[in-house]
Subunit: 343 residues, 2 copies
DNA sequence: ACGGATATCCAAAGCGCTTTGGGAGGAATC
DNA sequence: GATTCCTCCCAAAGCGCTTTGGATATCCGT
């Protein structure tokens, strides 16, 4: 049923060579001819056979990722959401995945094997930590790779896509300060991940700039589950001097925090203000919270899709993508932030 | 660096045909010759080029799965754990994945496209519901598939791997009854999924057989998060006549349940007994609970691995796997179950 | 000893694509 | 008018494997 190159060429009265070149954007083909080819492709629904391309070019048309088998990593919504973006884009371009589960201690071997297998054209790396040794390792592997996030303390000469976590939480904290808040708490992600570190840094900078300090007792690090959000907030509220505002690293955490606040009989946006980072999880929208949530927004799925696009574009040598991207999160003010309560 | 068939054949003084046949288990090759070939493979580290195999055979050497983008599905640990098993086994055989994210309403189109793409040799299906329309659809697709779980109400003539949920919870409930419990509650997974339905059925059967009934107020259905476990248990405890024993569909749920019980000042295994289904999540071991948990155990990762094995075996026409497998969960008694408290 | 199995092996033809190495024809150059 | 240079196209050679359609040799029964 499906046509192949040969048939398509015959149909057009052209050689396979020309058709192939027309399709792959080579210059030595007449513009008009190229149009005819493209038209024929549309009409016949021709799709090049990936296996043949693979054999002929030596490229694998697939991207590899090492799936970390570690507590609190693949366990949450965020992983699935990100994966969805990645997969969505990959499938569009007929790219495959090679998911290789691995315990952290075996990661190096796994990466090496994956790179050597010839089964992937590029590797993908995430869950960055400070001084992450994996980027040096990947550099030595002579296979393209792309990092989601950035390390800290490493030289910056590797391709990454990250969001500007520092700015995001700087902006969020500043908003709260402008609203008169003085005691601001932070419910953060795991303390070894760089996004957590940067968010805290951004928040701290805003505080310092306004002559305020960050009380250690008002900072919690944990996996980003509703449960941890709840517990963290409970602890804050039991503090002798509870915060009047809280920053959350995820809407999932915020979900729990809100519950704790409600349970304490406090009013969000009045007694206590709340800002959360919003990864745009389709099942948890900040505008649907009983009190709509002020957020710093940046879509995780979009990041996944973008990473796939860049990776694939790089492999196909199509398009020209920046090596490094830093997305700015959008501060969206809703009802969960209000002026600091009068003492 | 890597040798190919031609070189290997030359090395052995054989034709490519013979070497290929020796490797693929064809009968028309001398046993001794085959041994020589196998030996040479070991020495040279020869690995057939997948792209070439794919082109020559028309097989894709990859399995497709539609990744559901729906609330509460990819959001939990269970998904990651299962995927890990699947991926682990696939990678061993050099198989790829094609993950295709899709909203439930687009699933049919997605499956069709995937099947037609020629990019996958088999499809995989999970999160079964009662009268699940997807199995009829997959049957019509003329591409092998395998179901994790079973539907209910559909004819059973499709390949699946499931655990015997009914028996598992029948056994668990019976144990509790034998211990003298009369009011037993159930914290179950989502009510539309067949494993939940069967677990409840198994429990009900045990109760009925012993002249007991299942109080509707003592049954909760929800996503299997710690949080839901907590809330469900809280509700039970506030009941006029609280249960003396509880069945949980997951150790994650049990985690929350335990918290609620502790908070109420009750003693697990004395005031209230608890049995949970254990998917063998590496980060949540029932034996590490403060009071070690009695469980019905069946490894989710092993199920993933087995499914990959069967799927791959089917594609390669190697080995002979049963079409349908029903794994029996193991009832493991620990300290969380004790005799019913005296009134 | 001879026709016919039987057991082993091989040459060669694909699978569907990319890419090398031209080649024809017209425009530009001298 | 002869030479060079583009422009646009093509034939054919792979990529590394599987598989078809024989070959050759050995062995059997009669």
């Amino acid at each position: 049923m499906a046509v192949n190159l040969k048939q398509l060429a015959e149909l057009l009265g052209l050689s396979q060579t020309t058709v192939s070149r027309a399709l792959n954007g080579y210059p030595e083909v007449n513009a008009e001819t190229r149009q005819r080819v493209l038209q024929a492709v549309r009409e016949t629904g021709y799709r090049p056979n990936r296996a043949a391309q693979r054999l002929a070019t030596g490229r694998a048309f697939s991207i590899g990722m090492v799936m970390p088998i570690a507590p609190g990593i693949d366990s949450d919504v965020h992983f699935g959401e990100f994966l969805a973006g990645l997969a969505e884009e990959a499938v569009k371009h007929d790219f495959h995945f090679v998911l290789n589960p691995s315990a952290p201690e075996d990661e190096e071997v796994t990466f090496r094997r994956l790179a050597a297998s010839g089964n992937v054209d590029a590797l993908f790396l995430a869950y960055m930590r400070a001084n992450d040794p994996r980027i040096a390792m990947l550099k030595s592997l002579s296979i393209p790779f792309l990092v989601h996030g950035r390390s800290i303390g490493e030289s910056r000469d590797y391709p990454f896509l990250d969001i500007d976590n520092t700015s995001a939480f700087y902006d969020a904290a500043r908003l709260l300060i402008q609203l008169g808040h003085q005691r601001i708490a932070l419910i953060n992600g795991p303390d070894y991940l760089t996004f957590s570190i940067r968010r805290q840094k951004g928040m701290l900078r805003a505080l310092t700039e306004h002559g305020l300090t960050l009380d250690e007792a008002l900072v919690e690090h944990s996996l980003m589950t509703d449960e941890h959000g709840y517990r963290s907030m409970q602890r804050f509220l039991q503090h002798a001097q509870p915060p009047t505002a809280v920053l959350c690293s995820s809407t999932v955490l915020a979900l729990g925090a809100v519950r704790a606040i409600n349970q304490a009989g406090l009013k969000i946006g009045e007694d206590i203000s709340l800002i959360a980072h919003d990864d745009v999880l389709p099942m948890l929208k900040p505008e649907n919270f009983s009190v709509p949530l002020t957020t710093t927004r940046s879509s995780l799925r979009a990041a996944g899709a973008r990473i796939a696009t860049r990776l694939i574009g790089g492999i196909l040598k199509r398009g020209d993508y920046p090596e490094q991207e830093l997305w700015r999160a959008e501060l969206i003010v809703r009802a969960s932030t209000g002026p600091a309560p009068q003492k």
